[in-house]
Symmetry: C2
Subunit: 190 residues, 2 copies
Amino acid sequence: MTPQEILQGHLAKTIHLTDDEFNYFFSHFKPQSYKKGQTIINVDDRVNCEYFVLKGCLKTYYMNDDQKMFILQFAMPTWWASDYNALYNDVKATVSLDCITDADVLCLSGEDREKLCKEIYALEYFFRWRSNRGFVVAQKRLLSFMNNDARHRYEELMSMYPQLYNIVPKQLIAAYLGVSRETLSRLYQH
Amino acid sequence: MTPQEILQGHLAKTIHLTDDEFNYFFSHFKPQSYKKGQTIINVDDRVNCEYFVLKGCLKTYYMNDDQKMFILQFAMPTWWASDYNALYNDVKATVSLDCITDADVLCLSGEDREKLCKEIYALEYFFRWRSNRGFVVAQKRLLSFMNNDARHRYEELMSMYPQLYNIVPKQLIAAYLGVSRETLSRLYQH
DNA sequence: CGCGCGATTGAGTAATTTCAAATCTAGTGG
DNA sequence: CCACTAGATTTGAAATTACTCAATCGCGCG
């Protein structure tokens, strides 16, 4: 699948665009390729873009003072990733974004997004819908955190995204679930 | 302050509307008053509205199979509350909304919100901005959950919303922090 | 072969939970 | 004004869970 087709298919789940509209939209994206381990957003960076994943797997994460990592999101193909706090509120990044595997992404700048939203109503709707979905997902994860123990959260994650098991080192899964890798290791041995 | 002034002041932080636009917007809200303890949204309800708080304090919460309560949000004046998953995805409510104190709210239906967003660009922008802010707040809370212990989360909440201490029973604070009330009780005695 | 990284295991420790009992408080009716 | 009650809060003690730290294991790669 071409980048266009991937983005097109993703949009089509929520809104309808004419071919002209879609091509215009697509023309604002900048394709970018990264190697495994490369950093896209660093703490204290100015954040100008959000990233639509075409191929590979990214992670957004926060590092505390003890260098302990907490993963906010694994971003797989057709997912969006950025430090949305930094991007929307024009402050420096507090979370980082980097590549778990080699990755191809499409970058969209904040200014272009705002411009496009003004020009094409369906896109404004799309981005509003996406924000809302993100909000709902974050709330669900919060609930799962409060309600379920680590084993339950692990099984939830694995049934939702089985691909992760092969792609992502176990210690990153632990950093997503909010447990130590030792605890995670003890979970799936009966 | 009148309901108009409260809503107006809230909007003005994000967007600018002419008086005519604002009055048109305001005309779609239905004022409603509730007594302490009254339920606004129940599990399995169809959710048609979101609620803008004018006075009082609401809570949105999830109840698990053991009847244990987890609070997603305390909604104070100028906050919005609903089951956004139910409202946006047109499914039945999984979280409940009720009144911690007597409360005055303004209701806006999902259809009216969509109509208004189409008619007035600034409102579409406002609601997108609000969703995004909600997303960022939920992510921050998630991080705080993973990174900080209960005492730290308690102090964070209290420094952010000191009013809560007087209005809200301690066990509800515990249900927000994700700890038992016994643990919370032990936190603030040195 | 041996290095290095990720994953596992063990043991002791810290934090939180549960359950039960005691205490406090606000509101009610006499 | 006081006694009473329901609900909220606190306390105690035992049990559970996850954490840390340290040591070991397993495997791919130069």
